[in-house]
């Protein structure tokens, strides 16, 4: 157990340092490629993967 935990603790610490260094976080972000060059001139030429999936009808 103590040897396993030593390895586990080292892994957690290393992951923490790596995350702090690289700015890693658990926010869901999709990395995409093939974005058309015309987006700046025509924003509608690219549809975000995020768009069109969410609707919220909350409220009391």
């Amino acid at each position: 157990m103590s040897r396993w935990y030593r390895f586990y603790a080292f892994s957690i610490a290393a992951a923490c340092v790596w995350a702090l260094y690289t700015g890693w976080w658990i926010t869901p972000v999709e990395r995409v490629s093939g974005v058309p060059k015309s987006v700046r001139d025509n924003p509608g030429s690219y549809r975000s993967h995020y768009s069109g999936h969410h609707r919220y009808y909350g409220g009391k």
Binding site: M1, S2, Y5, R6, Y8, A9, F10, I12, A13, A15, C16, V17, A19, L20, Y21, T22, G23, W24, W25, I26, T27, P28, V29, E30, R31, V32, S33, G34, V35, P36, K37, V39, R40, P43, G44, Y46, R47, S48, H49, Y50, S51, G52, H54, R55, Y56, Y57, G58, G59, K60
Partner: protein
Amino acid sequence: MAEPMSCPKCKAPLESHMISEGVVVFHCPSCFGALYETEDLGVPLNAAGSKPSGCACPRCRKPMETLTAYEGMLEVDRCTECAALWFDAGELQILRRLSGKEDLVKKRAAAAKPAGATKKTTMDEPAPVPPEMSGMRNIDEIRSPTIELDGRVYHHFQTSVPVTTSVLGEFPWIAKVGDTARMRDFISPPYLLSHEVAEKESTWSAGEYLEPEEVWTAFALPGSPPPKTGVSPAQPNPWADQVPSILVSFALAAAACVGAYLYFASTASQAAVFEGGFSVAAAEPERSRVTEVFEVKGRVSNLQVKLDTNLDGQWASIGMALIDADTDRALDFGRDLSYYHGYEDGESWSEGSARSTFYVPSVHPGRYYLRVEPETDSPALSFRVAVTRDVPLTRLPLIALALLALPVVWAVMRRDAFEGSRWMESDHPRSSAGDDDEDDE
């Protein structure tokens, strides 16, 4: 200052114990004799004769005499001056048997006890009075005496008065049905000390816990030993040795996480890279917008994105893309927001928020622009977006600490559960509330 009292038999310093309300006895931790006040004894001695004992009274130093009681079956020393009674180890047990009374001590008010009698006479941690001496209850139960031997500290485990109910086999002594002794067990796993006091004999035994496999191998027994059940008094706790090592690893890893966080927090640039506002009307067919190109400098780091909307009883889903101006790559992300509030049944309520802060992880340095595309039921949504680079996240080391602590808590609980099982059958059962001494007292 009063001189400490010494045992009339072995000269060891006596210790005082209050064994019931207002009754104090002086007990020898070496030979287990005990000094009683005559008036504290609740049973008659039926003394028929006396002779000089050759001992001096521990209290007044006057000569003591030996009383012959119960037709010669019991001999007790009594001071010729103050009439204090001295019982050798086992003599109280004999008196109990001869008198037919289990409780040998007369109850009396605390005010009646001799002046200074409650003061401990000598040692800081006195040995307990055995149960047959106290006549009231097992004082080992309310204390937790320890013994030091060969550098080990043995803790009291149990005091009992076993009775011989049957005899089978050969013995180097005369064994009889009805024989009693007082047994006290002390443990320092894997070692065990047992002290047995019979009428005229006091025996110490030392033992060591062996794993069943060792016994099986030593006696060349066939097969394998039966599985272990329960916890033996002297069985080593397999978690006890591991917990300190685990705690050291935890401390080192936690220090590394906290130290790294402090370092990165103190050196984080937290540089604002973009801030801008957008407005979208419900009637607009195309709601997507793009920002000017901005530069993200330095090493790979996170981007903090703050959204601040004018939502009021509406919702919005804002899709965003951080597009690399020089390549065809992008990071897609988004946020759902809603903010409702009102007043109902005499209470005001609110739900959600018109603001949101989130983090885009591991963004490489480069030139970027943002494309935002809101969907909303608001007739006129306006919102601001503020992007900051390299913002330290306090949540990271906290999550790391929680992950590090979980196995530690588990190991400590296993260790304590093992000890709980061990002490369950002892005179000092442990509860989850804490220390056994505190529980008992």
